[in-house]
């Protein structure tokens, strides 16, 4: 057993928390050139362009869907704007079979892994093709095929789950790890402590990726914690940690690649704190003008991670203005077309109200569903979605149910 050991002292000497400060890892300047002495990660043109496309697609999707929400076509939306480099840069450094457990602002990870706009739209509109069967609010995506755990609204619950998931991966011995995303606000929840402590004690291959974007809804990080961000907490757990410029795609990618190596080769958890800024509102229900200045936002807009990467691609001779224009146009068109398709699709069948609560529908749930169907058929105009989603062979069920009563 290893115990904490300390050198003896014989005077009451306190160490102050503010003595800890952690440097920020940066490679790329806003004009697309590297810092002096910095080396870009090995990234070939194809992968660099795939990353860039995913970042741009995330931005386009977010802009169009926020507009759709404002038009009343969508009940709710959350944007990734300003944090695309953090999310996509990290995802591109993972193996495609590594599990991602996200908070709710990581659509860029899904886009990078190949989730289609149709798949996004089906979830956003909760139609019959939504993998989640229209049960959750918009933006709660999930994909088993793409190793992306379905989003859960309660904050930070995914963090200890990631530790458990990754422990299972370690036992399975397939060389995979789990990357879990969360904001600096979520790091205040008890789940964060539980997750990091258990991961360090049990030597679990998990990457804790904190998107420090400055605000938890309206609460600025300065009211969230007194320390130098989230990163110093890793010392308390004896864990590897790095702070990175979250708007610097090359730095995020390099840091995550190295974190994955530590996680998988040494079965050690790693904490990454990506310093960024949430350029958009917290959600479509939030108005940031109530708690921060336009000036502050403008200053961060000048550090736009997408523009920074575009400049770098131009420096490499891998991208042109024409290509940019064509990409933007085709993405916009695709978003609009897929949105129209998804809107027209019917809701999930009424039976899906009671499936997946348990592996099998219980007799009590079946009774409740049968009663509901009888009611909906009596008042179809009051339950238009339910009436539309009634299955055609209810007639038989109904006769049986009447007999039971």
């Amino acid at each position: 057993m290893t115990m904490t050991t300390t050198a003896d002292i014989h005077e009451p000497t306190f160490l102050a928390g503010d003595e800890f400060s952690i440097p920020t890892f940066r490679l790329l300047q806003q004009d697309g050139t590297l810092f002096e002495g910095a080396t870009a990660p090995e990234l070939d043109q194809a992968q660099a362009l795939a990353i860039y496309r995913a970042m741009v697609a995330t931005r386009v999707l977010d802009e169009r869907m926020l507009a759709a929400q404002r038009q009343g076509r969508l009940s709710f939306y959350m944007q990734c704007t300003g944090e695309e480099a953090s999310v996509v840069g990290a995802t591109a450094a993972l193996d495609d079979a590594d599990m991602i457990m996200a908070q709710y602002r990581e659509q860029g990870a899904l886009i990078y892994r190949g989730f289609t706009f149709d798949e996004f739209m089906n979830q956003l509109f909760g139609n019959e093709l939504d993998y989640g069967k229209g049960r959750q609010m918009p933006i709660h995506y999930g994909s088993r095929k793409l190793h992306y755990m379905t989003i859960s609204s309660p904050l930070a619950t995914q963090i200890p789950q990631a530790t458990g998931y990754a422990y299972g991966q370690k036992l399975a011995g397939d060389g995979q790890c789990t990357a879990v995303f969360f904001g600096e606000g979520a790091a205040s929840e008890g789940d964060f402590h539980a997750a990091l402590n258990m991961a360090a004690v049990h030597e679990v291959p998990v990457i804790f990726f904190c998107r420090n974007n400055g605000y938890a809804i309206s609460t600025p990080s300065i009211e969230q914690f007194a320390a130098d961000g989230v990163a110093p907490r890793a010392f308390g757990y004896r864990m590897h940690v790095i702070r990175v410029d979250g708007n610097d795609i090359l730095a995020v990618h390099t840091a995550t690649r190295e974190a994955r190596r530590i996680a998988v080769e040494h079965n050690q958890p790693v904490l990454i704190e990506a310093m960024s800024y949430r350029l958009a509102a917290h959600s479509s229900s939030d108005d940031p003008s109530g708690y921060r200045s336009k000036k502050e936002e403008e200053a961060w807009r000048e550090k736009d991670p997408i523009l920074r990467m575009q400049c770098w691609l131009n420096e490499q001779g891998w991208w042109s203005e024409d290509e940019e224009k064509a990409l933007q146009e085709s993405l916009r068109r695709e978003v609009l077309e897929t949105m129209k398709r998804a809107e027209k699709r019917p809701p999930p069948p009424l039976d899906s109200l009671v499936t997946d609560v348990y592996a099998d529908v219980t007799p009590e749930l079946q009774r409740q569903l049968d009663a509901l169907k009888r009611h909906v058929r009596r008042y179809p105009e009051a339950y238009p979605k339910g009436a539309r989603a009634l299955d055609p062979d209810v007639q038989a069920d109904d006769t049986a149910a009447k007999g039971e009563k």
Binding site: M99, M101, D130, Y131, G132, K133, R135, Q136, H140, G142, S143, R144, M149, T150, S152, P154, T157, I159, P160, Q161, A162, T163, G164, Y165, A166, Y167, G168, Q169, L171, A172, T178, G190, D191, H193, A194, A195, N197, M198, V201, H202, S352, T355, D356, V357, Y358, A359, D360, T362, P363, E364
Partner: protein
Amino acid sequence: MPTMNMLQAINNALDIAMGEDDKVLCFGEDVGSFGGVFRATSHLQEKYGRARCFNTPLVEQGIIGFANGLAAQGSVPVAEIQFADYIFPAFDQIVNETAKFRYRSGDLFNVGGLTIRAPYGGGISGGLYHSQSPEAYFAHTPGLKIVVPRDPYQAKGLLLAAIRDPDPVLFFEPKRLYRAAVGEVPEEDYQLPIGEAEVIREGSDVTLVGWGAQMEVIERAVELAEKDGISCEVIDLRSLLPWDQETVAESVLKTGRLVITHEAPRTGGFAGEIAAAIQERCFLYLESPIARVTGLDTPFPLTLEKEYLPDHLKIVEAIRDSVNF
């Protein structure tokens, strides 16, 4: 057939499950080499290694959060919460995560492999924080299954069923009976059904419903009632979620009377749910009001726990009142 106490039966079930499937893991506070504070996991670490049976840090929300992730990954975790009183730090993980994993993802992901074991109940001079019966909080949550064994035979058969059940199961163990209940337990692997009540005594005048440690108390009350010439039908619910309405309703249609008993406080207790459901189904057949014999609406006391608990005398009084209504 060997004789075992309830802890030995639980240990035996875990041993069988771990021996059969290397995806089964046991963990919790003090669960490792020490074998758990009640010794339910004795020798499992020796036998199956530290990777599959281990101590966790003292953090219930972490234990269940970890277990949720592990189960979603495809492992079969059996997480121990040292006392049911301490399950509340994990409440969010159980109610919002465990229970809803399959539903919210449209079955893309589920945590069906998860079993949460927790010793519950009074009668051990445990006071406020080592005696509670928190089942009703969880019985309000679709997606969970709740199982409570009454003796060693049930403990083994139901725990093996819980571990292999496709849904997450909360397994509340009556700790007063851990060593007190001794009985014959087959050595081999067997399962008892989850979701089915068991009629353990047939009778014609009144139906008695309980679960876990209350079954022993009910038996003592029934012996007294039978001396009065009252014929009692006794039902062990075994599973609280889902619960077996059919068996209870069928019995009440026959006897016309129902007495329900549990240790937890009365208000919002699970007896209220049973009473409501049964009067919906059996209203015209009832000869007397459905009676509840429960703990008081107070925290669980220390010195006066005998007074607090729904014992055989309180139950026999309820039986007499019901029959003589």
